[in-house]
Amino acid sequence: MPRKAIKDFSVERLQILDEHGVCDEELRPPLSDAQIRSLYEWMILARVFDEKAYKLQREGRLGTYASILGQEAAQIASALALEPSDWMFPSFREPGASMVRGLPLRMILQYWSGDERGSIIPRGQNDFPISIPVATQIPIGAGVAWGAKYKGDNIAVVVFLGDGATSKGDFHEGLNAAGVFSLPVVFFCQNNQWAISVPRHRQTAAETLAQKAIAYGFPGIQVDGNDVFAVYSATDEALKRARAGKGPTLIEAVTYRIGDHTTADDATRYRSTEEVAEWKNKDPIDRLIKYMATKKLWDEAYGQKVTAQARERVEAAVNEQENTPAADAKDIFLHTFQELPAELARQMEAFLNEIGQRDGNGAHNG
């Protein structure tokens, strides 16, 4: 008997606003002028924040920080598509998404300054703290989606991940289980082309990351990750699908990490300046400005005002963070379990006595 094709697949790519600011109005999501301005203003805030965080690290005022320069559209537009009742699982390169969701800038800085209290997500904001181990947040996000389905809550979960994460076992286990249980979850992959020094083509021989969804039995779509409209539209559609009980979606947002992996990295060791320059021409903010200008939604004065306001807000956050006292030494111990076990109490008391005697002024470690 002859061989025959039993399944045929294709992978879609969505672009609505190209790098020249030309927009396909038919595909453009129905956002009001105010919403478009909001997209722009959040992206400026994210960029100004990012620039400041980088500088603070260089001045020794912040710990290691992972820049989002160039990836603003991917994370701002996807986060803006979420409802407050939805849940978000960031990886470690989504401060833009976190601020949109309501995490105070002060707390993002607090975390990266080395103070875990920056991860105390405010009540009412349904987000998990960032996940430093790559891809491990994926099954947990799927678990929250399962919890919502179990309780009959009409919400969706978005899980952020990077291109490197698609090579991990937890990517497979998490997406596979989400497909099997038809969970209300959107896996949002910011494919920024580089996992530290290893390029995207060394993560997988697959032509796209989006197509990996096909093997898990749910849709995958590639979007221009520097196009706010494509990102918003694809995320909105996937979230609605999830909330309607139709299961998960994988979104591959093709973008680029303009900066180093983190402040501890030097990307000139492994990639060309030409490549970076090429991607700078596809900047997500520049193209939105071009589009907004043609729609009379942007002019120089407005642009300057937005940037000035963002700087003010970031400076205020830096000031507030830097004036936040360090936690007490007890803070190391007290939250390991709901109730402090006897042995931990013993360790804590011994330690407090020791540093109390050494410093002569109690247990403060600030």
Binding site: E116, R117, S119, I120, I121, R123, F128, P129, S131, I132, P133, T136, I138, P139, I140, G141, A142, G143, V144, A145, W146, G147, A148, Y150, K151, G169, D170, E173, G174, N176, A177, V180, F181, D331, H335, T336, F337, Q338, P341, A342, E343, L344
Partner: protein
């Protein structure tokens, strides 16, 4: 009251707590229609349905990761890892997330999950089905580690584990899953997770064990009694956090101690127990504390496992050594 095996006692605890609390659900490989490879979850899918008794893909990391998400969302998931040898795939989820949820968020989120893991040797099982890896979990701050030693204990400890606000690794010594029956009340009862149990009172030497090794140790104690040596036998029950007070008080009384475990010796929980005795009762000791343990080797396949596992003879010899130091 009925006589039950440990498998039946655990099944009863699951069934009762699922009846009490609609937020309890169980997930794992083959736990539904098959009732689990050890039949621990037998009958639960018929009683509670596929929504609450969930067969998962063969994905240990996802089983625990999903359970973390469920717990964070306010449910009480009980995950089963089929054999301890497969738990390593889930260690990252346990170590990097489950154990840290509370600390990372200072209690904004919590992770009240139970991971049930059949563990240990002595049932002639294939490779990777007989290890004692409890120390891996004990070494992860933020996890509680519980090992029942009898059917009665299993039911009461599991009830506490399910109700605990923090993640609990519940390790089930499969060698004694069906090896003994005892009276297990139909009623609910909870055994606290912070107290070791004095199984037999004695005056001459303290014997410390958990899980299947408790029974080897009890037999050794019995044979010592025939020689006129009175051994106090302590079941640790909760390996982490460790209730050292019960141990220390006993050692202060008997002045001698032997720790028995199946796991490899180096950095096994026995090492920690010896260290605490040294810290808190050194001056009372008449002899160095002895350890009877597995070896720092790969767990042998069934033909040699009896040699590897501590037996009554080895425990008796260790008691002799501390008695005649």
């Amino acid at each position: 009251m009925a006589k039950r095996t440990m498998v039946e006692a655990i099944n009863l605890a699951l069934q009762q707590e699922m009846t009490n609390d609609p937020s309890v659900l169980i997930l794992g490989e083959d736990i539904g229609k098959d009732g689990g490879v050890f039949r621990v979850t037998q009958g639960l899918i018929e009683q509670f349905g596929e929504k609450r008794v969930v067969d998962t893909p063969v994905s240990e990391s996802a089983i625990v990761g999903l359970a973390i998400g469920l717990a964070v969302y306010g449910l009480r998931p009980i995950a089963e890892i089929q054999f301890e040898g497969f738990s390593f795939a889930a260690l990252e989820q346990l170590s990097c997330h489950a154990s840290r949820v509370r600390t990372r968020t200072r209690g904004r989120y919590q992770c009240p999950l139970v991971v049930r893991i059949p563990y240990g040797g002595g049932i002639r099982a294939p490779e990777h089905h007989s290890d004692s890896n409890e120390a891996h979990f004990v070494h992860i701050p933020g996890l509680k580690v519980v090992v029942p030693s009898t059917p009665y204990e299993a039911k009461g400890l599991l009830l506490s584990a399910i109700r605990d606000p923090d993640p609990v690794i519940f390790m089930e010594p499969k060698r004694i899953y069906r090896a003994l029956r005892e009276e297990v009340p139909d009623e609910e009862y909870a055994i606290p997770l912070d107290r070791a149990r004095i199984v037999v009172e004695g005056t001459d030497v303290t014997l410390i064990a958990w899980g299947a090794m408790l029974h080897i140790t009890l037999q050794a104690a019995k044979s010592m009694a025939d020689k006129g040596i009175s051994a106090e036998v302590i079941d640790i029950r909760t390996l982490s956090p460790l209730d050292h007070n019960t141990l220390i008080e006993s050692v202060k009384k008997t002045k001698r101690a032997v720790v028995v475990h199946e796991a490899p010796r180096t950095c096994g929980l026995g090492a920690e127990i010896v260290a605490r005795i040294n810290e808190m009762a050194l001056v009372y000791l008449e002899a160095p504390v002895e350890r009877v343990t597995g070896f720092d080797t790969i767990m042998p396949l069934p033909k040699l496992e009896k040699l590897y596992l501590p037996d009554v003879g080895r425990v008796v010899h260790a008691i002799d050594r501390v008695m005649h130091f």
